[in-house]
């Protein structure tokens, strides 16, 4: 299968990426703006999320309501999110609607009205969402893990901190949008049934005259403590633990990802087999790889009844310790098969592809074809992964538990 990938950079720094998937009926677009939570600033955790919400509340000639109604009227399945690194606005639609949808997104991004009378409703929405996450124990455990493991501000919760969101004013939102919603650092990805030259022409009309500003990266601060228990009156104790891994831009991230997939990536993985299948300790258990641009983490998660949580943690730690030196080629072959199959199936979704090409560009500053990606998987071997594990054995673990009782964490894994 010959992949049709495109990329170009506008004069103001916007990176425009595309993938033509002519077998699809749909097209998807994703705008990733360098306005993620990492730029919130001390004491203003949640500013990026509040600002992103405000951008939807009236733009150009459209009122708040007209923004949503014009997107939905065009049949656009729209989504908006703020992550650590980006504020993102995305949409998937029947391909012929793309031309009508782009000017709406241009208004949201370049001409948000940021009206003062929408600040309180937007703030209330952010605060309600925050309250909702308080009721999601798995989310809280994972959020606490990121906060402890990554140096500030990279681990701060993008959704915000209630007391800090409550104190934000309209001037801070307007200033944030002016400083952070800028062409340099913006990635726009389009995938599906697209006409690339036409997309470039339309994007140049809509975004070409957007004046650029300098992009200042945030300074990294200190990390949190390694072990934390969060009291929560729940039947299950949630366990989230992690240790440092190479970021995606480092070639060794493939070795790290494969090792983690063997540990806890599929139903034949070691954690699933030992924790769930053999012992029936839990319903959910997994290991995976989480990456930011300059930091990354191996992440393991499980949730088990209070009385069985300690055994669950102990078995997880035993499997983590056992990993170096014990990999089998059959395990690696299964990991490769799953990864390759997932890569090919991703081509059936325009939204998934638009997200994927943008993500890779953010990390690599380049596009990477499916063929290159498959080739990199082919080059993975038990020896290459073992060599990497020998140099980087799991160590310095951060461990979060959330539930009724704290867990005992052995000293050796904290070193």
């Amino acid at each position: 299968m010959k992949q049709q990938l495109f990329s170009t950079t506008l004069a103001n720094g916007i990176v425009l990426l595309g993938e033509s998937l002519p077998a699809l009926e749909s097209a998807a677009v994703a705008f990733h703006l360098p306005a993620g939570a990492v730029h919130d600033g001390a004491g203003r955790c949640g500013l990026a999320t509040l600002s992103g919400e405000m951008m939807l509340r009236g733009a150009g000639d459209r009122s708040s309501r007209e923004v949503i109604e014009s997107l939905e009227g065009a049949g656009v399945q729209w989504a908006h999110s703020v992550s650590t690194s980006h504020a993102s606005f995305a949409g998937a639609m029947v391909a012929r609607q793309l031309v009508a949808a782009l000017p709406i997104y241009a208004d949201i991004i370049r001409r948000p009205r940021l009206p003062e009378d929408e600040l309180d409703p937007a703030r209330q929405m952010v605060l309600r969402n925050l309250a909702g996450t308080e009721d999601d124990p798995a989310h809280r455990a994972m959020s606490a893990l990121r906060q402890l493991h990554y140096p500030a501000p990279w681990g701060m919760p993008a959704e915000g901190i209630s007391a800090e969101v409550a104190a934000l004013g309209i001037d801070e939102v307007r200033d944030y949008v002016a400083r952070r919603v800028i062409p340099r650092g913006t990635i726009i990805a389009v995938a599906g049934r697209i006409d690339w030259p036409l997309v470039v022409e339309r994007m140049a009309e809509l975004f070409g005259d957007w004046a650029t500003a300098a992009d200042a990266p945030p300074a990294s601060g200190p990390r949190g403590s390694r072990i934390r228990h969060v009291h929560h009156d729940s039947q299950q104790t949630h366990i989230a633990l992690g240790w440092s891994a190479p970021p995606y831009a480092a070639d060794a991230s493939y070795e790290a990802s494969a090792a983690l997939a063997i540990l806890g990536g599929g139903s034949s993985s070691r954690l699933f087999t030992e924790v769930r299948e053999r012992r029936g300790l839990c319903y959910s258990v997994s290991a995976g790889y989480h990456t930011l641009r300059d930091h990354a983490m191996a992440v393991c998660y499980s949730g088990a009844s209070t009385a069985r949580a300690q055994e669950t943690l102990d078995v997880m730690l035993a499997e983590i310790r056992r990993l170096p030196g014990t990999l089998e080629s059959a395990e690696l072959e299964r990991v490769k098969a799953r990864a390759k199959s997932a890569l090919v199936m991703q081509q059936e979704s325009s939204a998934a592809r638009a997200g994927d090409i943008a993500r890779r560009w953010y990390h690599l500053r380049a596009m990477r074809s499916l063929a290159e990606e498959l080739d990199r998987y082919d080059r993975l071997s038990v020896d290459s992964i073992e060599a990497w594990l020998a140099d980087h054995p799991p160590a310095g673990l951060t461990v979060v538990s959330l539930g009724r009782e704290p867990l005992e964490v052995p000293d050796d894994i904290q070193a």
Partner: protein, 430 residues
């Protein structure tokens, strides 16, 4: 896209929506059994059995099943609902036979007592996991209240007590009866080699013994509560309150069900709906949504609300007020157009992913023995009019009698019901 259908002599049905240039193939066994086919003594057995199917056959261990799925790069899983138990795998086309053969073998599990004992622990963990999460059981309690004594009101997972007391013999008996070939549909979508699919099915399922069809219950006797039913669940650890409200709606065999889904989109879609603008956009509620859910012979409108505990009673009244106002003043042409475009967009996006289409094709065939293409679905959406929506609101007033359950951090004060007690209650079935 072409549709194919075949039936083996033992009653197993095979259906496929074939898209030659698709990149993947999805296959699934759709067993027509679920929570509504259980009794008090077997409550939770359908879902527990779904787990046990992955624990192996007389020839295959659980580890081997897991390894084989991962080996073929399959995205494989299963789910159980009130009416269906579905085992599915998405693979690259070259793995069609492997995936189908493995799923077919799994349909005849060993159901070993020692695996049963270990997996029982996993089921109990799953029950606790969901019980710790929003809406803290409010959805299940509400369905139980809506359907009163009918088995459609059973929670799919069962309870800690029902699972702990379930013997393996009861599961074995249930399996023989409910997993008879005449009660199963093998469905496939994407790049399907249909001839090869039928050949695989003959080889691995052809010997399954045909049994006379086992009867299923019917729900025709009633259609939801005749008056308002309200219950409260107290969860001191909860931050927000979660409300679920269910009122009667068109059933899965009622032609009005499509209009009901469009109506729910206008009134309570996650964004851009009347509930969204009234409650979510102003930041009053964390969630306020409505959707239409249908079963073989029953249907309901389910409203979900998440908000500050103190606001919950007033906001539930506001929701029923919005429904009453819609019934009184009608839906606008602009609302209809927006909702139609939204649904059409969703149909197209789902339609191009074989792994999503599998569920549309398989579940519809299991329920009705009919096939609807993406084009058929689009034509239905395009053909819906304001009259259709207004007729549904007349026949099935969303502000009418309903079961409502609120779960929250403290006892939530009762309010006077906002519904019209003369609404849908006690009316004749359609």
């Amino acid at each position: 896209m072409t549709f194919r259908h075949e039936r083996l002599p033992n009653g197993l049905e095979i259906v496929a929506e074939v898209t030659d240039d698709a990149l993947s193939t999805s296959v699934g066994f759709f067993v027509k059994t679920g929570a509504r086919d259980e009794t008090d003594a077997t409550w939770g057995v359908s879902h527990f059995l779904e787990h046990m199917v992955f624990k192996g056959t007389t020839e295959l261990s659980a580890d081997e099943i897991n390894r084989r799925f991962d080996w073929m790069g399959a995205s494989a899983n299963a789910f159980t609902s009130e009416e269906d138990t579905v085992y599915h795998a998405a693979v690259l086309p070259a793995q069609q036979h492997e995936a189908t053969a493995l799923l077919a073998a799994m349909m005849r599990p060993a159901l070993r007592a020692e695996d049963f004992a270990t997996e029982k622990l996993v089921i109990l963990e799953e029950i606790r996991m969901y019980d710790d999460q929003p809406p803290f059981g409010a959805d299940e309690r509400c369905r139980a209240a809506f359907f009163a004594e009918h088995p459609l009101g059973r929670s799919v997972l069962g309870t800690v007590e029902s699972i702990e007391s379930l013997p393996v013999e009861a599961m074995r008996e249930y399996h023989v009866r409910r997993y008879a070939p005449g009660n199963i549909v093998l469905a496939a979508t994407g790049a399907v080699d249909f001839t090869a699919l039928v050949e695989t099915a003959r080889r691995y399922c052809g010997e399954w013994e045909a049994l006379p069809p086992s009867a299923r219950d019917t729900w025709r006797a009633g259609r939801g509560p005749t008056g308002d039913v309200r219950e409260t669940i107290v969860r001191p650890a909860a931050t927000l309150a979660y409300g679920v409200r269910m009122s009667a709606g068109p059933a899965g065999d009622d032609p009005e069900r499509f209009a009901a889904k469009l109506l729910a989109t206008v009134l309570g879609d996650d964004s851009g709906s009347r509930l969204y603008w009234a409650l979510v956009d102003p930041g009053t509620a964390e969630q306020a949504s409505c959707h239409h859910q249908d079963f073989r012979d029953a249907g309901l409108f389910a409203t979900q609300l998440a908000c500050e505990a103190g606001d919950a009673p007033a906001l539930l009244d506001e929701v029923t007020g919005i429904y009453a106002e819609a019934a009184r003043s009608g839906i606008t042409a602009a609302e209809l157009e927006q909702a139609r475009n939204k649904l059409a967009g969703r149909v197209v996006l789902v339609g191009e992913r074989p792994r999503r289409r599998l569920f549309s094709v398989g579940l519809e065939w299991a329920r009705s023995g009919r096939y609807r293409s993406v084009a058929d679905d689009l034509a239905i959406v395009e053909g819906l009019s304001l009259d259709d929506l207004h007729r549904v609101m007349d026949s099935w007033p969303l502000h009418g009698p309903a079961a409502t359950v609120l779960a929250g951090p403290s006892a939530i004060p009762e309010t006077s019901g906002a519904g019209d007690p003369q609404g849908a209650g006690g009316a004749e079935p359609v």
